[in-house]
């Protein structure tokens, strides 16, 4: 297969062939220690709104994630968030006691560092999207998008298991609230303390 691959690209010239070979050689070495991992955990969620809006929300949340990468270097991670909302920020005054649940999906790049100190500090950056169930006459859910940043540390137990502690920040921008006469957009800062575990294969 490699021969066919090289033959197909032979006409690109010697210089190009050298680059391709070099890349093919580097690729496996870059990800020599990469593993697929799945993880889960719980988090304490806190949300403050921007632009002088006096509203706060706090809740417990859960996260499930799947990723691929080297625990001590780079990785890419997909995660699903679930937040059981306790505040009532968008729903009608009399209809319900709180907004509904919040569901999100995120993709983040992970950079971890191995300082040989038994823990592996890391930071993540990415973005997410999701929706919050609400109860209003004009809307039953509110979509949102977010920019995500987090930092924390992995606590490796063995080659296949580690605990994860992190502080996650999300700059969240909500779909406009439809009041018929006006469409009002809200933005918030979401701070989350996360604790979970990862199993690597």
């Amino acid at each position: 297969m490699d021969i066919i691959f090289i033959k197909n690209y032979a006409k690109l010239g010697k210089e190009n062939l050298k680059k391709i070979l070099l890349f093919l050689l580097l690729l496996p070495s870059l990800y020599a220690d990469a593993q697929i991992y799945i993880g889960a955990g719980a988090a304490a969620f806190s949300e403050d709104f921007n632009n002088g809006v006096e509203a706060k929300g706090s809740a417990k949340s859960a996260k499930f994630k799947i990723g691929y990468g080297d625990r001590a270097a780079y990785g890419v991670e997909f995660s699903l968030d679930y937040v059981q909302t306790e505040s009532k920020i968008f729903s009608s005054s009399n209809a319900v006691s709180s907004d509904g649940n919040r569901y999100g999906i995120n993709v983040e790049l992970v950079k971890a560092f191995d300082f040989d100190i038994y823990v592996l500090p890391f930071f993540k950056a990415g973005f997410g999207t999701g929706f919050l169930d609400i109860n209003r006459e004009t809307q039953k859910s509110l979509r949102y998008g977010s920019y995500n940043l987090s930092f924390g540390t992995l606590l490796p137990i063995n080659k296949n298991l580690d605990f994860e502690l992190s502080y996650d920040y999300k700059y969240t921008s909500y779909e406009a609230i439809d009041t018929i006469s006006e469409k009002i957009r809200y933005e918030s800062n979401v701070n989350t303390a996360y604790f979970g575990f990862n199993i690597r294969y």
Binding site: A44, S58, I157, T179, I180
Partner: protein, 202 residues
């Protein structure tokens, strides 16, 4: 497990358990309770220009806001009354139409009555002058004995061969009378199915 790992786990557990904060318990945006058309007992003359209507959104905290541009406007009888956004225009000489506003599950309507033009008043014309142009002023007599109402639009003027019209609009006609008997034709909604003719003979 190292001391560092144990310490971090303990610290995070303590922080995690200690988390919890304030929760807002009332909506930051008042919910909608309804929409309505502001105007009541709406009517317009068949010779009126467009009439602008307005709509309002009502909220659960007893506030309201203008919704004229946000809602969808429609007419139940588009042969009599046309509607463009919030502006209604008579296209027939008389009749009633329901104007409805709607937005999702909310709606409201009001009946718009078009007042029928019954006859036209003409100012004096010097019938002995058959060489100079003269201007006559016109106004409308509408249903329910409303007389001398200024007409703004929808009237066009034509004549027989004994009158030459040099200029005309809904309120005045400049003409030259050349012979008698002479006939002037005022046509409401000319060229439409709702056309109505008003004739004057001198």
């Amino acid at each position: 497990m190292t001391l560092l790992q144990t310490s971090l786990l303990s610290l995070s557990a303590a922080l995690f358990l200690g988390c919890g904060g304030e929760n807002t318990n009332s909506s930051i945006v008042a919910d909608v309770t309804g929409i309505s058309i502001n105007e009541r007992d709406i009517s317009l003359y068949s010779t009126d220009l467009t009439k602008k209507l307005n709509a309002t959104t009502h909220y659960e905290n007893n506030t309201s806001a203008d919704a004229t541009e946000a809602v969808i406007w429609s007419s139940s009888n588009t042969d009599d009354l046309s509607i463009s956004l919030s502006k209604v225009t008579a296209i027939a000489n008389g009749g009633d139409s329901n104007v409805t506003i709607s937005y999702l599950q909310f709606s409201d309507f009001q009946t718009v009555h078009i007042k029928e033009l019954v006859s036209i008043n003409y100012s004096e014309l010097n019938v002995s002058d058959t060489s100079n142009s003269q201007t006559i002023y016109v106004s409308g007599n509408f249903e329910n004995n409303e007389s001398n109402v200024t007409m703004f639009t929808n009237i066009t003027w034509t004549s027989d061969e004994n009158i030459t019209i040099s200029e005309s609009n809904s309120t005045q006609v400049t003409l030259t009378l050349t012979n008698r008997p002479a006939m002037l034709f005022g046509t409401l909604f000319s060229g439409t199915l709702n056309q109505v003719d008003f004739n004057k003979t001198w």
